[in-house]
C-alpha cells in the first residue's frame, strides 16, 4: 500500500495544508500564529522523515549496529525549531503590543480602525 509506505509524507502534507489554511482563513491574530506553528511543524516532520533510513537505528554508536539513520537532517531541524520558537515569541509579543494600542486582536477590527 503506497499510502502506508509514505505515511510520514502524507502527514506532512496534511499538516502543512491545515496550518496554511488557518493562517489564511482566521482573522484572530493568535490563531494565525497557531496556524503558522502547525505549518512549521509539518516541515520539521518532513526533515526528520527524510533522515530516516529503513532498518537503521538511531545514529548513536552501538555494538553490532551497521546501519544508522542520517543524523544531519535532525541537526538541521534543531536549528529550524529554535528559529520557530523565536518567531513565535516575537509574533506573540507583537500581538500584545497590537492589543495594547488597538484594543483588539481581530484582523477585521484592526483594518477598520486603520481606515478611520
Amino acid at each position: 500500500m503506497i499510502i502506508f509506505d509514505l505515511l510520514n509524507y502524507w502527514v506532512v502534507i496534511i499538516l502543512m495544508m491545515i496550518g496554511f489554511f488557518i493562517v489564511i482563513s482566521r482573522g484572530n491574530l493568535v490563531k494565525k500564529i497557531i496556524g503558522l506553528n502547525i505549518f512549521q511543524v509539518s516541515v520539521f516532520i518532513f526533515y526528520i522523515s527524510v533522515g530516516n533510513v529503513r532498518g537503521g537505528t538511531a545514529p548513536i554508536f552501538l555494538e553490532g549496529a551497521t546501519l544508522y539513520s542520517n543524523p544531519l537532517p535532525h541537526v538541521l531541524i534543531l536549528t529550524a525549531i529554535v528559529v520557530g520558537i523565536a518567531t513565535t515569541a516575537l509574533a506573540l509579543s507583537l500581538v500584545i503590543r497590537i492589543k495594547a494600542s488597538y484594543g483588539t486582536i481581530e484582523e477585521t477590527e484592526i483594518l477598520e480602525q486603520d481606515k478611520q
Binding site: 496554511f20 493562517v23 491574530l29 494565525k32 503558522l36 505549518f39 512549521q40 516541515v43 518532513f46 526533515y47 527524510v50 537532517p73 538541521l76 536549528t79 529550524a80 528559529v83 523565536a86 518567531t87 516575537l90 509574533a91 507583537l94 500581538v95 503590543r97 497590537i98 494600542s101 488597538y102 484592526i110 486603520d114
Partner: protein, 497 residues
C-alpha cells in the same frame, strides 16, 4: 587575517550586536554600531579587490572541507552585493543618530542599534554563504530583527505592518526550508556548488521541480515580487525613516541576489521547455510589477508609500532581467540592483530629512517646501531623475542595459513596457515636484511649517544623503565600476568572454 575576511565580514556585525547591547547608552551604541559597519565596509572592499585579483575565494568554516563543512564562497556576484549592502548600511547608520531622534524613544535607541546590526549581519550572511541551509539561518536572523525594527515606528500601524510581514516572511522562509529539504533528499548535499553538480542527473524528478517551485515562491515573497508584494508598502511606510532607507536599499536586493544564485547557480532544468516557461513567468510578473505598482504609486498621498510602490516596480525590472536568461539580462539585473540601492537609499534619506523638518511625509504638507529647503529638495529631484532613468544618471545605465538585453533577443514588447514604466515614474515624481515647487503653501500649512521647522538639517544626515544622491550622478557618467563587476558576475553563470 586576510584569508579570514569572508567570515569576518559576517561575524563582526554579528558579534557587534550583543556587544552593542552591553553599552546601553544611545549615543555610545550609535558610535559603536557605525564603527562596526565601517569595518564591515572596509572588509567588503578588500574582498572585492581580492576577488578581482584571485578570482573566487572559498573559505571553509572551522577548516571542515566542503561539501561536508559550511563553505563561504565569495565570487564576483556576491562580493559586489556585499559591497553594496555594507556601503548603504554604513551610510544609513551614520545618518541614524539624527534620523531616529524624533521617532524612537531614547531608552529604546540602543536596542534599535542591536537589531539593526543583527539585520545587517543576517543580510551579509545570506550573501556570503555558499551553503543552502546557512542561507535559511541567516534569512531568519535578518528577518526576525527586521520585524523588530519595523515595529519601532511611531505610528501604531507599524505594529500591524510588522505582524503582517512576520506572517508572510515566515511562510516565505519555511517554503525555502521545504525547498532546501527536497534538494537535500534528492542529492544528499547542501553545498551550492555541489548541488549544482548533483542536481542535473536527477533533474527529471518531480521532487527537484517541486523544490525549485518552493524556493522560487519563498524568495519571491521575500523580494516582494508582484503579486506577493502586499506586505511591502505597509512595512516601508510605517517603519522609522532610517529603517526604510536601509531596507529599501538592501533587504529586497539580497532576495534578488538569492534568486539569481538559485536560478542560475544551483538549479538546472530538465528540459529547455520548462526553463522557457519559467522565464516567461519571470518576464510576465516583472512587467506586471512595473506597470501596476507604478500606477498605484501615482495615486498615493504619502510620498513614503509612493516610493515603496516604486520599489516594487523597480524590482520588476530586475526580474525581467533574470527572465531574459542571458548574460546581458543578468548583467542588467545586477546593475539595476546596484543603481536601485543608490537611488532608493538616497531618496528615502531625503524623506528622513523632510520628515525631520515637517514631521510628515504627506504630499499635501509639502506645498512650497522647495523654497524652504531648496537643497534637500534638489536632492529629491536628482534621485527622482535617476529613478526615471534620465541620461547621465545611474538609472539610465541600467535601463539601457536592460533594453539592449531585450533587443538582443528581439523581445520588443519588453522595451515598450520598460518605457511605459519609466513614463509612469515621470508621473509620480512630477506630482511631488509640482506640489513642492510650484504650489505656494496655503496659510494654514505655512503656519504649520513655520512652527515645525526650527533648526537646520543635521550635517551627519546630509553627508550620507548627498553621497548617495551624487553617486547616482557619478555612476551615471562614469559607470565603469558597476558595469565591470556586473559583467564579471554574469560571466560566472554564462561563461563567455
Amino acid at each position: 587575517m586576510i584569508s579570514h575576511l569572508p567570515i569576518l565580514q559576517v561575524i563582526i556585525p554579528l558579534l557587534g550586536a550583543p556587544a552593542c547591547l552591553l553599552l546601553g547608552k544611545a549615543r555610545l551604541s550609535w558610535i559603536f554600531a557605525t564603527v562596526v559597519a565601517l569595518i564591515t565596509f572596509i572588509i567588503s572592499v578588500l574582498l572585492l579587490i581580492q576577488v578581482n585579483e584571485q578570482g573566487t575565494i572559498s573559505y571553509m568554516l572551522g577548516g571542515w572541507e566542503a561539501p561536508w563543512g559550511i563553505e563561504y564562497r565569495i565570487d564576483y556576484l556576491n562580493a559586489f552585493v556585499l559591497a553594496i549592502i555594507s556601503a548603504v548600511g554604513t551610510l544609513t547608520l551614520i545618518a541614524a543618530n539624527d534620523g531616529i531622534k524624533k521617532e524612537i524613544d531614547e531608552a529604546r535607541q540602543p536596542l534599535f542599534y542591536v537589531s539593526f546590526l543583527l539585520c545587517f549581519a543576517g543580510l551579509l550572511g545570506i550573501t556570503a554563504t555558499g551553503d543552502a541551509f546557512n542561507v535559511f539561518v541567516f534569512l531568519e536572523i535578518s528577518s526576525l530583527s527586521m520585524y523588530t525594527i519595523i515595529a519601532l515606528g511611531k505610528d501604531r500601524r507599524a505594529l500591524w505592518a510588522s505582524y503582517q510581514y512576520l506572517i508572510v516572511g515566515t511562510i516565505g522562509a519555511t517554503f525555502i526550508l521545504v525547498g532546501i529539504g527536497l534538494m537535500y533528499s534528492m542529492t544528499g548535499t547542501l553545498n551550492m556548488v555541489d548541488l549544482a553538480e548533483r542536481l542535473p542527473p536527477v533533474a527529471e524528478s518531480k521532487s527537484v521541480l517541486a523544490s525549485y517551485a518552493f524556493i522560487f515562491v519563498g524568495v519571491s515573497l521575500k523580494l516582494a515580487l508582484f503579486p506577493l508584494h502586499f506586505w511591502l508598502p505597509n512595512a516601508y511606510t510605517f517603519s522609522p525613516g532610517i529603517v526604510t532607507a536601509f531596507l529599501a536599499a538592501t533587504a529586497t536586493k539580497v532576495a534578488v541576489y538569492l534568486l539569481i544564485r538559485f536560478d542560475f547557480g544551483v538549479f538546472e532544468m530538465s528540459s529547455p521547455e520548462v526553463k522557457q516557461t519559467i522565464n516567461r513567468l519571470f518576464i510576465t510578473l516583472g512587467i506586471a510589477a512595473t506597470l501596476i505598482a507604478s500606477w498605484t504609486a501615482i495615486k498615493q498621498s504619502d510620498i513614503k508609500r509612493m516610493l515603496a510602490y516604486s520599489s516594487v516596480a523597480q524590482i520588476g525590472y530586475m526580474i525581467i532581467g533574470i527572465g531574459l536568461d542571458s548574460s546581458s539580462g543578468v548583467q542588467a539585473s545586477v546593475l539595476h540592483l546596484f543603481n536601485h540601492a543608490l537611488m532608493k537609499g538616497g531618496l528615502f534619506l531625503v524623506l528622513v530629512a523632510i520628515a525631520l523638518q515637517l514631521g510628515s511625509t504627506q504630499l499635501k504638507d509639502l506645498q512650497g517646501i522647495a523654497k524652504r529647503m531648496p537643497w534637500t529638495f534638489f536632492g529629491f529631484v536628482l534621485g527622482g531623475l535617476s529613478l526615471i532613468g534620465v541620461p547621465l544618471t545611474a538609472g539610465f545605465i541600467s535601463k539601457w542595459y536592460l533594453v539592449s538585453a531585450a533587443a538582443e533577443q528581439e523581445q520588443w514588447y519588453i522595451i515598450a513596457f520598460v518605457l511605459i514604466g519609466s513614463l509612469l515614474a515621470v508621473a509620480y515624481i512630477w506630482r511631488v515636484v509640482e506640489v513642492a515647487w510650484f504650489k505656494s503653501a496655503d496659510s494654514e500649512i505655512a503656519n504649520q511649517q513655520q512652527q515645525t521647522m526650527p533648526e537646520k538639517i543635521p550635517l551627519l544626515l546630509l553627508i550620507p544623503l548627498w553621497i548617495l544622491i551624487l553617486s547616482n550622478i557619478y555612476f551615471g557618467i562614469d559607470a565603469r565600476f558597476p558595469i565591470y563587476f556586473s559583467q564579471q558576475a554574469a560571466n560566472l553563470f554564462f561563461g563567455g568572454l
